[in-house]
């Protein structure tokens, strides 16, 4: 991934050198950018301009805003109610629920499908997200038929984080690229816990001990709210560990 990081404001002129020009692929505009005919590209959000030369794509990233489902993203949803064939799953507050077919779980058939009560948490992938339709989720990979870690989340605690923090946590190299060291530090300090992050700004933590769950959840939330850098995160972890023992 090309990593030129430029900050843009809505309506800013974008430097033409930042717009990728691939000989074959068409240019793809991500969120926060708008094409003004004939050949202008204007940002509509304030944030970091990311150019991806390999995919010939360009987008604006910012930490705020409401979650809008996009196909392929992993999310944590709350089951609102169940209908004949689908579960209605809330991804964020006060928005229309997404649909999760009851058969899209690993090994689910009409007779053996998981029963989820209202309020249950599920870790799912967005399968379909079109503009004027309810989003569709899946808890199974359609190609392999395996769950790949998706499915109902039992126990634990759900914490709310900003969308930018969720994106950083879910980067493949979150320590290097996302500058998130807090989870690794907590784990190396001897805490045992399990986490799941959803792109919809949700962070789920589970552990044997209630104290650990609270410590991990709050450390992540604090990192998010106070925008701590790696050193400050390490300091925070030392403080948390001291309080725990």
């Amino acid at each position: 991934m090309a990593s030129e990081a430029v900050f843009v404001l809505p309506g800013d002129q974008i430097d033409p050198s930042l717009i990728p020009s691939h000989p074959k692929k068409a240019l793809r505009l991500g969120p926060g950018l708008r094409h003004v005919p004939p050949n202008d590209i204007l940002p509509t959000l304030a944030g970091q301009l990311i150019t991806d030369r390999q995919k010939n794509a360009i987008r604006v990233e910012n930490a705020g805003g409401r979650y809008q489902p996009r196909a392929g993203e992993l999310v944590i949803g709350t089951v609102h109610h169940s209908a004949a064939e689908v579960y209605y799953v809330n991804l964020s507050d006060y928005t229309t629920p997404a649909l999760l077919p009851q058969l899209s779980f690993e090994g689910a058939t009409k007779k053996t499908r998981p029963v989820l009560a209202a309020g249950a948490l599920v870790y799912a992938r967005v399968a379909l997200a079109n503009k004027h339709m309810d989003a569709e989720l899946e808890c199974v990979s359609s190609s392999t038929g395996k769950s790949e870690g998706l499915g109902p989340l039992t126990g634990g605690m759900l914490f709310s984080i900003s969308l930018g923090m969720a994106r950083r946590l879910m980067m493949p190299k979150s320590v290097l690229e996302g500058k998130i060291a807090v989870l690794e530090e907590l784990a190396s300090a001897g805490l045992q816990f399990e986490t799941a992050a959803g792109r919809n700004g949700k962070f789920w933590v589970d552990s044997e001990s209630v104290k650990t769950v609270i410590a991990v959840g709050r450390a992540v939330q604090e990192t998010d709210e106070k925008r701590l850098d790696v050193d400050a995160q390490k300091k925070l972890v030392r403080k948390v560990i001291k309080e725990l023992s």
Binding site: G155, K211, G217
Partner: protein, 293 residues
């Protein structure tokens, strides 16, 4: 159609389990309040209060009106509170939710009916002219414990407010602008504060103060005390919920008194700070033409 956001099953069980172990999700102790922030605006009578993520703004305004015919010697004092869709899309404009009605009734009982403001001092000419004091309460964000936050904001704003000075000579009433005469504070009798306790557990044995929105959604019962620093109770509100033991009830009242004393001190201190900030060094310093250049 926006719906009220509800906590998931995991959150419910976890919060309950944590409380049984004596822990709160935000790491506070049961009787610990969130960090509180009180700021006054540039204008007189504007106060903003933050309890953690709960944020409330109160604005006081005054105008001259005709008093009610059945109360010719009293001024008019109203508190209007509005929960707008700014807090959450489930709040609708012009359709007061249950929460909003309860909040405005509580504030009414606490501040207006307890006689915190001397309404007789607002009378200008008996039966003809009086001051109408209006407090507008805007809830900007809601993360639990709205009542306490709102009450503190209203009391602080009223204490901070200055109404234009006036004089009566014979039959003529004169209202002076702030340039002509220094505005005068309201005649304030006592400062009641709301302190809310939330009860958790099957028999309400866990008592929490200053709850967050998540905790508020899971509590079994709640009780609000309005009390001033002298220990005079203005009202107690307990709308349904689980029953409470009498000793717990008394214990909470003692806690409310201590909190009320703290809040009184805080408001006094902040008012003194604000007065110091506004004081340019007397009348002569204000009139002087000298400036920094």
């Amino acid at each position: 159609m926006p719906r009220e956001a509800e906590p998931s099953l995991s959150e419910r069980t976890f919060v309950t389990q944590a409380l049984e172990e004596g822990l709160r999700v935000d790491g506070r102790k049961f009787d610990q309040f969130r960090s509180l922030e009180l700021t006054f605006g540039d204008e007189y009578g504007v106060a903003e209060v933050k309890f953690g993520k709960t944020r409330v703004l109160a604005k006081v305004s005054a105008e001259v009106t005709v008093p009610y015919t059945d109360r010719p010697f009293d001024g008019v004092f109203t508190i209007t509170s509005e929960l707008s869709p700014m807090i959450a899309p489930s709040y609708e404009v012009n359709r007061p939710s249950m929460e909003e009605v309860l909040l405005s009734r509580l504030l009414e009982k606490t501040i207006r009916r307890s006689g915190a403001l001397d309404t007789e001092s607002l009378c200008l000419i008996a039966g003809q002219k009086c001051w109408s004091i209006r407090v507008d309460l805007h809830v900007l964000t809601h993360d639990g414990n709205l009542t306490d936050c709102a009450c503190l904001a209203v009391v602080a704003a009223l204490r901070h407010f200055r109404k234009p000075d006036s004089s009566i000579e014979g039959e003529t009433l004169t209202i002076y602008t702030s340039a002509e005469r220094e505005p005068v504070p309201l005649s304030w009798l006592h400062s009641p504060f709301c302190v809310t306790f939330s009860f958790f557990g099957e028999e309400g044995e866990q008592i929490l103060v200053d709850t967050t929105w998540l905790e508020e959604q899971l509590r079994v019962s709640t009780c609000t005390y309005s009390i001033n620093k002298h220990g005079e109770l203005c009202q107690i509100a307990k709308f349904g919920g689980a029953a409470l033991d009498a000793p717990l009830f008394i214990q909470c009242a003692t806690g409310a008194l201590n909190r009320s004393k703290e809040l009184t001190d805080l408001v006094e201190r902040k008012l003194a700070d604000d007065a110091k900030r506004r004081d340019k060094g007397g009348f002569m310093a204000e009139l002087t033409a000298e400036n920094d250049r």
